[in-house]
């Protein structure tokens, strides 16, 4: 090691726009780089993406490595991996972060293999041990309501994929200066073994979830499909989106797209109802940044109460109908619209 190394962030671009998670990682990476007193660099790949380099700087980077090449027009593991590897070999980094998106995870896995280094998946907390200059990448541990910090002691760069929406992007500083370094990629389209034929956009249920202001989430505690119907009823009453836990999904009460948590979606609504949900860490990492959390659970010791803003200890089958009634009554007072406006 020894040389002056930096913190790198892979900048994911879709439809000529930088993904939110990449901006969040520039925010998180900035903190790590400041602690370590090294530069923060963005790795920007694509076709016609040069103009985005200044944004990468505005959001916190000191350096942007750009590879602009028609072969990189759409994400393909082979092409992107080769571009990243050639940069990594030429410039070296000590920490390298990727968004835990389909492309980010795919790319990071391939790059880690070629660089023979460690990769921590789906990180939700990042820090550095300054003495040892080690990245502390934490994620929910299997088998407990606990987090595990994963270290990569001997290999560089230390790599991690990070869940979207858990880190904070900085406000862009349009006066910020940085260095843009362009590199060339010597790949030919004929040598590529995969082709993207078509991209199909779907307005997924997930997309609605991530935009919802209010989410009503139900868990195994709803008991059965009829019980889970109460979740829909409450959501309908207040115009909220429905979501749930993995156990609710596995019970078949809810499609997988609506699962919140480590293996589902991360959401940050203004208001999140967690009903009949125990509050396992794998669920909590997906919703804990909601502005207000209301827990309804019959077990007063359920861990969900630790993350809830307000909690009601009681049977959901009794509480929800009363809540619906109360919302309706309040709204009558206000002529159809609850005074929440």
């Amino acid at each position: 090691m020894g040389e002056s190394l930096g913190v790198w962030v892979f900048i994911e671009v879709n439809d000529k726009k930088i993904e939110g998670v990449s901006l969040e990682l520039l925010g998180a990476g900035r903190q790590l780089a400041d602690k370590l007193n090294v530069p923060l660099a963005g790795v920007l790949l694509g076709d016609g993406v040069k103009n985005l380099a200044s944004d990468v700087i505005y959001y916190g980077a000191d350096i942007v490595y750009v590879v602009d090449d028609p072969v990189l027009k759409l994400y393909r593991t082979e092409a992107y991996m080769k571009a990243v590897i050639s940069l990594a070999e030429k410039y070296k980094s000590e920490i390298f972060l990727y968004g835990a998106t389909p492309n980010g995870k795919d790319l990071a896995s391939a790059v880690a293999t070629d660089l023979s280094t460690g990769l921590t998946a789906d990180t939700t907390m990042l820090d550095v041990d300054l003495d040892k200059r080690l990245l502390e990448a934490s994620r929910p541990a299997f088998g407990g309501n606990i987090m595990a910090t994963i270290l990569c002691k001997k290999h560089r760069p230390q790599m991690a994929t990070v869940r979207p929406k858990v880190m904070q992007a900085l406000d862009p500083d349009h006066g910020r200066q940085g260095k843009i370094i362009e590199e060339e990629l010597h790949l030919r389209e004929e040598d590529m073994r995969t082709r993207v034929l078509r991209i199909v956009k779907e307005v997924t249920k997930t997309a609605n979830l991530s935009e919802a202001d209010v989410i009503v989430a139900g868990g195994k505690g709803m008991g059965d499909p009829q019980g889970f119907q109460l979740i829909h009823d409450l959501a309908e009453t207040i115009g909220a989106s429905v979501a749930g836990t993995r156990d609710a999904v596995e019970a078949g009460w809810l499609p997988h797209e609506l699962q919140i948590g480590q293996t589902g979606e991360t959401v940050t609504p203004k208001l999140y109802f967690a009903i009949g949900i125990s509050g396992a860490i794998q669920h909590v990492v997906g919703m804990k940044n909601s502005e207000l959390i209301i827990a309804i659970n019959k077990d007063p010791n359920a861990p969900i109460f630790d993350v809830a803003t307000y909690g009601i200890v009681g049977d959901a089958h009794e509480v929800i109908p009363k809540l619906i009634q109360q919302f309706k009554e309040l709204s009558k007072e206000k002529g159809g619209e609850l005074s929440y406006a």
Binding site: E19, T77, M81, P102, K105, S109, A110, A112, T113, D114, G118, L119, A121, D122, A141, G143, G144, I146, A148, T149, I150, L151, C152, R193, T194, R195, L197, I199, V200, E202, V214, T237, I238, G239, D247, L271, V284, L292, I294, P300, P303, F305, D306, V307, Y310, G311, I312, G314, V319, K322, L323, F327, K328, S331, G336, E337, L338, S339, Y340, A341
Partner: protein, 274 residues
């Protein structure tokens, strides 16, 4: 067509429960199962084979008991099973796992060339999804991760058309064979195992290899030694401040809650549908 599916034995997280008081796993009632995503991977390989003919093999790294998930794969319709089992593999992270599996795959391909490798999107015990793409790199195959549909297998052209889940939708991809796929659950429905498969599975004994059977292997890349990542500390996540359990009868609590929400009226807007 020779398709190999990499399968893993995992604890059934549906049944396994976390004791909320001690924060630890209740292992007593945790049966070991075939990782659900891998079951879909085996099913997909079997479906492809029904179209193209050929062989479906499964490969697992794990303790001797992992034979049970190979039998399960045979029930779904795999023809052949390989288990690599050795102390030297223990404690492997994703990098060391993809190394060991790729060594076994190289060994298998000496017997019969491999046209496709299929893995589940991830294993439900670790959730990393890093092993599949790692194997693809080591075998120099193009990977296609998060596959939700195998649309067409063009045997003559040695190409395959796929749908891959992406942010905000999916993409249609054409890949050259040999390639490596990782599949989502949406890729298929697991079918009921036909009786002859069940009978075959019950009697089936997979090929079991130790490190010594794998030919030239760099032992420093295996198991704990070959794993760059280690678990540092374990900790309970920092608690969120301000938690408040409401008091009184349910009716009182409900009234208080709606009142409290009203105070936050600048935050969100409800439109109550009566």
């Amino acid at each position: 067509m020779h398709i190999i599916v990499c399968v893993k034995q995992v604890p059934d997280t549906k049944i396994i429960k976390i004791n909320p008081k001690t924060n630890t796993l209740d292992r007593r009632s945790a049966p070991a199962i075939l990782n659900p995503y891998d079951a879909h991977a085996v099913q997909e390989a079997v479906k492809i084979k029904q179209l193209t003919g050929g062989t479906v093999s499964v490969l697992s790294m794990g303790p001797p008991q992992a034979v049970s998930i190979i039998k399960k794969s045979i029930e779904i319709g795999a023809d052949k099973g390989y288990l690599i089992s050795d102390r030297a593999f223990a404690g492997a992270d994703t990098l060391a796992t993809s190394y060991a599996l790729s060594k076994a795959l190289e060994r298998i391909s000496e017997e019969q060339k491999i046209d496709m490798v299929i893995c589940g999107k991830h294993a439900i015990d670790g959730d990393t999804g890093q092993v599949g793409p790692g194997i693809a790199r080591r075998l120099d195959m193009p990977p296609v991760t998060n596959v939700i549909e195998v649309t067409e297998v063009k045997t003559e052209e040695r190409k395959i058309n796929l749908k891959r889940k992406q942010l905000g939708g999916y993409e249609e991809i054409e890949a050259q064979l040999p390639c490596l796929l990782t599949v989502e659950k949406e890729v298929n429905e697991i079918e009921y195992a036909p009786m002859p498969n069940m009978i075959k599975a019950a009697r089936y004994e997979p090929v079991v290899w130790t490190v010594d059977d794998l030919g030239e292997v760099d032992r420093s890349q295996l198991g704990l030694k070959g794993s760059p990542t280690v678990v540092g500390k374990m900790f309970t996540p920092p608690r969120r401040a301000g938690g408040k359990k409401l008091e009184g009868t349910i009716d009182e609590q409900v009234k208080e809650l709606t009142g409290l929400l009203r105070e936050k009226q600048d935050l969100f807007r409800f439109n109550v549908n009566s």
